[in-house]
């Protein structure tokens, strides 16, 4: 008898975790392209290097844990982590910076917590924060847009850590850095060239537009739902609006906030990491809105120019609790249940 004996449902949809992850990587391509256009080949080199590290470290841990290496590698989740972290690291980063960050993300932040699906923190952001705290200089060394190494070899030198050979490069403050430095001084703000792009900071506005396009692709493909980007961006804009109206010299405009730093990248690619985010509909909205609020607070009042990583990690911890209190009302029940009971 050669009958397959399984329980219903017998029909299954076409979605696969591996495919889903591939689409996420695909959606980062516009952002990667703009970063490369603005800052040279560094980001691309970083991404490829990070993917290699991720595969190697994931395979090593899986082997050590006695898991089926090929089967688990096929879910592509390690590659996504690598790509996201590599995109967040400055293009001038040397090879060891990426190595430390990615291997920490995979080995500690993901696999030591039990592997895919079990990690409480977004692995890419855990690695990013580790690097930001340990190597603040390397992690904040951005070029002025369009001022990166002109040739591929320049980026290779940077990657190999030979920063001294490329000293003629112009490093410069990002729009967020710049606004932070001159906040309160209207004249200085008006003179800062980098703050005055087409509608937001020079160069960075296009980085954010590219990630927004990638994010819309994910929405269209049904890989993410609109709740997290909407909550994230909506809360950020809503926080910025009244203060900007109150004192534009001290507080940046909502549009500036939305298209600066990692706002779009965070809203569509980081906060939407399903494993570490809240899962119920209301939960996702609340989770993302709190991230948006935290980002505005840290950017405007805190000590760091950008805050996506910190805000996401903080809310990662709150996600289970948010889920407990945002259960949907089940069909046939008068009220939604609250808490774990």
């Amino acid at each position: 008898m050669a009958l397959i004996k399984v329980t219903s449902p017998h029909a299954t949809g076409q979605q696969r975790t591996g495919r889903l992850m591939r689409e996420v990587m695909l959606a980062t391509l516009p952002g990667l392209a703009v970063l490369t256009w603005l800052f040279g080949w560094g980001s691309l080199i970083n991404v490829i290097w990070a993917m290699l590290i991720a595969l190697a470290s994931e395979a090593a841990v899986l082997k050590a844990r006695g898991k089926d290496v090929a089967f688990y590698l096929r879910d592509n989740s390690a590659l996504v982590t690598a790509v996201l972290l590599a995109l967040a690291i400055p293009p001038s980063a040397p090879w060891w910076l990426t190595l430390i960050g990615v291997s920490f993300s995979i080995v500690v932040a993901k696999q030591l917590y039990g592997g895919l699906g079990m990690n409480p923190f977004n692995p890419a952001m855990a690695g990013y924060v580790l690097l930001l705290i340990s190597f603040p200089i390397e992690m904040t060394r951005w070029f002025a847009p369009g001022e990166g190494p002109e040739h591929f070899m320049g980026s290779v030198h940077l990657f190999l850590g030979r920063y001294a050979e490329t000293v003629d490069l112009m490093t410069g403050a990002t729009p967020l850095d710049s606004f932070r430095t001159w906040a309160g001084d209207a004249t200085a703000l008006a003179n800062e060239h980098i703050l005055h792009g087409v509608f937001a900071g020079v160069g960075w506005e296009w980085v954010n537009v590219a990630f927004l396009l990638g994010g819309l692709y994910l929405l269209w493909r049904g890989i993410i739902t609109w709740h997290i980007p909407a909550g994230f961006l909506g809360a950020l804009a809503l926080c910025a609006l009244p203060f900007w109206l109150y004192d534009p010299a001290r507080f940046a405009s909502p549009l500036f906030h939305l298209f600066s730093g990692a706002a779009m990248f965070g809203a569509f690619f980081i906060a939407t990491d399903p494993v570490s985010a809240a899962t119920s509909r209301w939960g996702r909205l609340i989770y993302a809105a709190l991230i948006g609020v935290l980002i505005w607070v840290i950017r405007s009042l805190g000590g760091y120019p950008d805050a996506v990583a910190f805000a996401v990690l903080l809310l990662n911890l709150a996600a289970p609790t948010i889920d407990y209190y945002t259960q949907p009302r089940t069909y046939g029940h008068d009220k939604a249940k609250r808490g774990t009971g």
């Binding site: 008898m1 050669a2 009958l3 397959i4 004996k5 399984v6 329980t7 219903s8 449902p9 017998h10 029909a11 299954t12 949809g13 979605q15 696969r16 975790t17 495919r19 889903l20 089967f71 879910d75 989740s77 592997g115 895919l116 699906g117 079990m118 739902t225 709740h227 399903p274 494993v275 985010a277 899962t279 119920s280 509909r281 209301w282 996702r284 909205l285 889920d323 259960q327 949907p328 009302r329 089940t330 069909y331 046939g332 029940h333 249940k337 774990t340 009971g341």
Partner: protein, 914 residues
């Protein structure tokens, strides 16, 4: 508008706006849902074909939800098409009819339509190919029939829900008068991929379906009637609209979305009403029936045909000839595979040849795979899918959940499938229940969309099963505890009653013996009060148990009710006794404590330790059978042990404090007691005779034994009758009951009646002793018989309780009766023994105890002398030996005499056997 609904992803209202344009009502949406590939054109392009008449039909007795039907034919019977071959066996059950003419060749276990591939009892019919109908009675004018009769027709036709679950239709259409139905909904959605049975049925037989719906309208009297059809069936919609043109039936086109054919989902789509969790649609004024059910009702009313066939979709790419077939119920899947062009080599009865892949009964979303092609089509089989691995491949290995939440997006019940999955997997079933696991309808939408191929529904089924088992075990434990409590209450109550009775008798006899000395009431008020209290508390406990049983729908409710009624009666009579005693004793001095505390305590100790032993036995049995009640039973046993120990201590103390207390010798009225004994004996005889006759009729093995016992009982009854006659002749005065005068009037020395009554007892004669001895012997036999019967009956009851028999109440009553009988006999016997002892004292000047003591003492003295003698012999002390020899002779003589006296006394009073 609910804010939450804004958060839901928008879904297109309908893929076919022109069709939906015919709708006159606003439709509602339900949360989630999926749009799997339809695969409907595979089977809906050809008309319905009549199915084959296979050589063998296999008809499971449980084609429906509820109790399996009971066969009403025997192997070898020839049956006609449409003839009933199995009867409904309860309120929720449905009969089975022969789908064609033939011979019943077997009634045996065969593989059936069970997801776990279980076997169950089936009627196997060897068809004769002639397809001869039994006479049928159509009811075209069913409007003239009372509704109850129409319901009965539907029940007798074996019609059960043909959509999914197979719930007997007669129950759903049999509404209470108070129930008002707003919407009658006909579910023609057929939302699962592949299935097209309802589609073809409506395209080809719309008039019949509408006629069936009209019959349903007549039955449930709805305010409006809606037929919901998905917009992927334009031909069916057109046909149904045409057929329903001049009726008040509304055809409603609903958007294609799985699972809009789920009962609750369809109700929500059509009416916006939500059925309460765990509730029935009728609670919100809705009744749902399937299209196929309407068609079956139409066939019943217009042609008189019971449910013997159904339209089943044969589909899947393995069929070279797919389509819809009107299949005789009981047709095995392999016959349909051959009929539909799946090649099945004929090599042996259950072999399935080279076909590999999936064989699914039902749809691809909720159907179950069968691994045996001998499984028959039943009333609920709407589809057979034979899919090669290319079409429905083996499930991919399960990957980790990435919490993407796709499952929650598609869940029609608005659950959090992901949370349910984590908790089910971790075995945290309470948590899963908190997340409303039980509201899952197992539609499979979550598993369909899961990117990690997690078989979510399987996890939920597992967790649901575990939860159901937990609940069942809890219920079982509760029931056992209630039973145990009721039993303890009964034992207590019986004890109290017995005490009260004995007290009453003792008091009465004391009064008889000394009429002039006391005006005390004949009963012990305290004892009566205690008995009354205990009786009413027992009654209350029983009522509690009854209520609990009723709430859980327990089968024991009847038995418990009977017991509660009996207890009520007892409590009432106990109260009445207290009242009477109060009335009669109002003017008299307080009650004289009549009982001997030591004796009472002894009895209590004996009872407590026997209760303890029983409890230990029960606990051991429970442990042996691995029952969940074992622990609680063991705890009960420990409690009882504690009580027994306490009582023992109390007894020891009481003995030390009151060594000299001897019970007043009671005196009973021998004639009255004999009468009672005669009555009992003859009633015993009668019941034994009845049992023997019943056994003989049933050709039972023990008929002879029962007959012998009956004869024995008859002999005893005759003997007792003779004794009664003698007693009456000898002592006419004792017939007189205790004179009421002695209770109320001050006693005077010359109260003749009292003197007369006590005289025979006071002046005990040899003749009396002899009669008493005889009676004692008879009573002892009666007691032994009754107590043996009681023990047997108790054991039988216990067995029955364990096996969950139906007639527990009857058995319990029997046990109670026998216990009472045994107790009565024992009590009478004890009374007589007491009487005999008293007589002995009168005759010998010392009581039995003294005599026994004297005998024992003299014997031990003799033994001492023997020992001393032996010692002296060893020492060789000649003088001592001589002295001792003389003393020993004297001691032996004394011992002999004492023993003789004792024996004589005992024999005189007939105490030898007791």
């Amino acid at each position: 508008m609910n804010l939450l609904s804004l958060l839901r992803p928008r879904k297109p209202a309908s893929a076919h706006p022109p069709l939906a344009a015919g709708n006159t009502r606003r439709l509602h949406d339900f949360h989630g849902g999926i749009h799997p590939p339809q695969h409907k054109t595979l089977s809906n392009q050809t008309p319905i074909r009549p199915g084959p008449i296979p050589r063998t039909l296999v008809l499971p007795l449980n084609m429906h939800i509820g109790a399996p039907a009971l066969p009403c034919v025997q192997v070898g019977d020839t049956v006609l098409k449409g003839q009933k071959i199995a009867d409904a066996s309860g309120p929720v059950s449905a009969p089975v009819h022969a789908p064609t003419s033939g011979v019943v060749s077997a009634i045996e276990a065969r593989p059936i339509q069970h997801p776990s591939g279980l076997d169950a009892l089936c009627i196997v019919l060897d068809t004769d190919g002639e397809d001869r109908w039994a006479p049928l009675t159509p009811h075209p004018d069913y409007h003239l029939l009372p509704r109850a009769e129409l319901v009965n027709l539907i029940r007798e036709a074996g019609i059960a829900g043909m959509g999914g679950a197979g719930f007997p239709t007669a129950i759903k259409v049999n509404l209470r008068d108070s129930q008002r139905i707003e919407q009658l909904i006909i579910n023609a959605v057929e939302c699962e991929p592949y299935i097209t049975a309802d589609d073809r049925l409506m395209r080809e037989r719309a008039d019949g379906v509408i006629a069936g719906v009209q019959a349903l309208q007549y039955l449930v009297q709805p305010q409006e009637t809606l037929i919901g059809i998905e917009d992927n069936k334009p031909e069916a919609i057109a046909a149904m609209r045409a057929a329903a043109a001049n009726t008040d039936i509304e055809i409603v086109v609903v958007p294609t979305k799985y699972p809009s054919g789920g009962e609750k989902q369809l109700i929500q789509v059509l009416t916006g009403k939500e059925v309460r969790a765990g509730g029935l649609p009728a609670e919100v004024g809705v009744v749902c029936h399937n299209t196929g059910t309407a068609w079956a009702i139409h066939r019943l009313l217009s042609h008189g045909e019971p449910l013997i066939s159904r339209i089943t979709t044969l589909t899947g790419t393995a069929f070279s000839n797919p389509g819809n077939v009107e299949v005789l119920l009981g047709t095995q899947v392999r016959d349909l595979l051959a009929f539909g062009g799946v090649t099945v080599p004929d090599n042996g009865e259950y072999s399935y040849g080279e076909y590999s892949g999936r064989l699914i009964m039902g749809g691809p979303m909720m159907g179950f795979s069968i691994d045996h092609p001998a499984v028959p089509v039943v009333k609920t089989t709407n589809c057979i899918i034979a899919a090669p691995p290319e079409e429905l491949p083996e499930p991919e290995p399960e990957q980790p959940c990435i919490r993407c939440g796709a499952c929650a997006e598609v869940c029609p019940a608005d659950l959090l499938p992901q949370q349910l999955y984590w908790y089910s997997k971790a075995g945290e079933f309470d948590r899963a229940q908190h997340y409303n696991l039980m509201d899952c309808i197992e539609c499979g939408a979550c598993a369909y969309v899961c990117p990690s191929h997690i078989p979510l529904v399987q996890y939920y089924r597992f967790a649901k099963g575990a939860l159901r088992q937990q609940a069942a075990e809890q219920q079982k434990a509760d029931r056992a505890r209630e039973r145990f409590e009721a039993r303890m209450a009964r034992i207590e109550r019986e004890k109290a009653e017995k005490d009260a009775k004995r007290q009453a008798r003792l008091a009465a006899s004391r009064q008889k013996q000394a009429p002039g000395s006391s005006t005390a009431p004949t009963v012990d008020m305290a004892a009566l009060k205690a008995a009354s209290l205990e009786a009413s508390s027992a009654y209350k406990a029983a009522v509690k148990a009854l209520k609990a049983a009723e709430a859980t729908g327990d089968g024991d409710a009847e038995a418990l009710r009977a017991e509660a009624d009996a207890l009520k009666a007892r409590a009432d009579s106990a109260k009445a006794a207290v009242r009477d005693a109060k009335d009669s004793g109002a003017a008299t001095t307080p009650a004289v404590p009549a009982s001997d505390p030591v004796a009472d305590l002894k009895k209590a100790v004996a009872e407590a330790s026997s209760a303890y032993k029983q409890a230990v036995k029960a606990a051991k049995e429970a442990e042996a059978s691995g029952s969940a009640e074992a622990a609680s039973l063991r705890a009960e046993a420990d409690t009882l042990k504690g009580r027994a120990d306490e009582l023992k201590n109390a007894l020891r103390e009481a003995k030390e404090q009151a060594p000299a207390v001897t019970p007043a010798p009671p005196a009973a009225d021998p004639v009255a007691e004999l009468k009672k004994a005669v009555g009992e004996a003859s009633s015993q005889y009668k019941s034994a005779l009845k049992a023997a006759k019943a056994a003989a009729e049933d050709n039972a093995d023990d008929a002879d034994a029962l007959r012998a016992r009956a004869d024995e009982l008859k002999a005893r009854a005759d003997q007792l009758k003779a004794e009664l006659r003698d007693a009456k002749e000898r002592a006419p005065a004792t017939v007189a009951p205790v004179a009421p005068a002695t209770l109320t009037t001050p006693a005077t020395p010359d109260t003749q009646a009292a003197t007369d009554a006590t005289a025979p007892v006071a002046a005990s004669t040899d003749a009396d002793s002899a009669a008493r001895a005889k009676r004692m012997k008879a009573l002892k036999t009666a007691y032994n018989m009754a107590s043996k019967q009681w023990k047997d009956a108790s054991a039988a009851l216990e067995r029955a309780t364990r096996e969950g028999a139906d007639d527990l109440a009857v058995q319990q009553a029997r046990v109670d009766k026998l216990k009472k009988k045994a107790d009565l006999a024992k009590e009478q016997l004890n009374l007589l023994v007491d009487e005999a002892k008293a007589a002995m004292k009168q005759a010998t000047g010392s009581d039995l105890k003294t005599l026994k003591l004297a005998a024992a003492r003299s014997e031990s003295a003799a033994r001492e002398k023997t020992a001393a003698l032996a010692a002296a012999r060893e020492a060789g002390d000649e003088a001592q030996i001589t002295v001792l020899q003389q003393e020993l002779a004297a001691a032996e003589q004394a011992a002999l005499e004492a023993a003789r006296t004792l024996k004589q006394a005992v024999a005189d009073q007939g105490l030898a056997d007791v």
